[in-house]
Amino acid sequence: VRVLVTHGSETIPVEVERLDDTGRFRVRLGDGAGAWLEVEAIPAAREPGPATLRLDGATYVVDLVEDRGDLVVTIGARAYRLRAERPDRAAGGGGRGTARRGGQRLIAPMPGRVVTVHVRPGDRVEAGAPLVVLEAMKMENEFRAQSPGVVTEVPVAAGQTVEAGALLVALD
């Protein structure tokens, strides 16, 4: 079975093969080039995901719940908000998380309110130029260009509320 897992602006294809009925699988990450990894998963009673995961010699205690269509996976102190879809259903979904080659895509790392948009499509920006100010939890966070480029897309406007994962600015 092939699954597309989206984390922020990154989409990772994962191939999953069930080995038996005791929770043993093998998985391969990436586009068929990576190595197969053996996984042992002990499922939680009511949740869809594993409670304990043995992967590549390490054991992970996993807390996994669904929240608004996302899977929130917490391992130790690290919480990940992921989206996992079968490719047939994801096809044509577009928008959120679709990886694109080249250029920079500034993705909202958290939900918040757009306070200021410093750029417009067509603008040429230097590395470090302020692009967008996003307010969340009472702090204004200024996001800057990581490298020089030309702004190709600004789908947000000041005053707008955005979700985590939303595209703020695209540069080429």
């Binding site: 594993p50 995961l53 992970y60 719940v65 102190a77 690290r78 919480a79 204004e140």
Partner: protein, 510 residues
Amino acid sequence: MIVKNERPGPFRKLLVANRGEIAVRIIRACRDAGIRTVAVFSEADRAALHVRLADEAYPVGPAPSSQSYLVIDRLIEVARAAGAEAVHPGYGFLSENAGFARACRDAGLVFVGPGPEAIALLGDKTAARRAAADAAVPLIPGTREPVGSDEEAARIAGDLGYPVLVKASLGGGGRGLRLVAGPGALAGALRLARSEAASAFGDGAVYLEKAIPDVRHVEIQVLADAHGRVVHLGERECSIQRRHQKVIEEAPSSLSDPALRQAMGAAACRLLAAVGYRNLGTVEFLVDPERRFYFLEVNTRLQVEHPVTELVTGLDLVREQLRIAGGAPLGYGQNDVAFRGWAIECRISAEDPAAGFLPSPGRITAWRPPAGPWVRVDAGVYEGAEVPIHYDPLMAKLIVWGRDRAEAIDRMARALAEFGVAGVRTTIPFHAAVMRHPDFVAGRLSTGFVAGAFPGGLPADPPETSRAAVVAAALAAVRRAEAVPPAPVAAAPSPWALAARPGGPRRRAG
């Protein structure tokens, strides 16, 4: 110190004009004192812990605080409708708003805090600096008035010498505050500070102050009753800050000794006595490596970090606030105040220390707070609760006590290791790293500690952990696809709809 157990009065019902952990803290103090509580909540907080714990709760508006927790008329209206006789503002929101204190007084409600005159005077940071100078309290070089144009600011900053701080005149909690290393960064800092100050405090006025390197932030807790008695409860060390916001506090300070405590305490009491202050207040100082102290500002409210003072003095500060507001005399003097042991507090926020402390709002899917001897958790959340994007990311405060500093650090490290939170990222790993840091352990602290010891926050996630999360999500998707039958065409009727149907089960009246 053993304080006579006197019930605060004379009011019997109090409105808590706040949310989160501090609303819960105030509700607890009221409950302990036999005072009924009235909570208020925005649309984002309908299921919040403070709403669940209060005796009554009323909606005050939409999620943005400017349309709910900051709407004075609405809060007064709720207080009156609910029959509350007093209002506790907590910290943040309207706690240092003189207009709110005045509106309460005009409506015949007891405001648990100082009078509007003292709030207005000390809340204007430039006026407070003048009052401190008049009371012979040493000051940091800086402007005593808000700065006007960027050009004027640049001239003053040049005279003071970089680095300088741009501070909101009505600021607090690190908002509207920027450190400027050199002239090139001044204009940008002024812009951000003014914008943040305008949105947070409704006034974009800012002033400049010289930034002193290697300073410690040490503050004095003061109580002043309505009968002219002013007593201090010693110091709190609050040097562990990030973006000028305190993240770890302790009492006492590893820098302090009885002489310094006495000198700072006397200065703090002198200032608050001079302005006719009443109730609980904090005088903040910066202390340089030579132990010279400079007045920073006065916080005319209960502070986030008040529990560390509670643990070393044995006083319930919210209860003391209620007693003072009710007109009772303190009943003890400076010589009755004694200190025992060491207390440390860590602020547990929904922020990701491995990603530059970006806010991490969301649903808390697991919440397993630590416990055991001398471990206290003041939380405003619970398992299943939502951390909204609209407010401060503080979820809880973890406070421990030990006989000395080393024991308190060990206990904090143990409690942090025990603290389990899932669904959102938290600052717990950051605090754990601080507790192990040799400079922190040795008591070598300064306000630059975090930036120096953890320049980029904590290291990013190890790739194996991220990979395990991706695999777990993929397996969950596979399992879901296998387990879930096709969705039914018609949704099953909700049990609520059944309950409401005639003839269905009903809740008995009363």
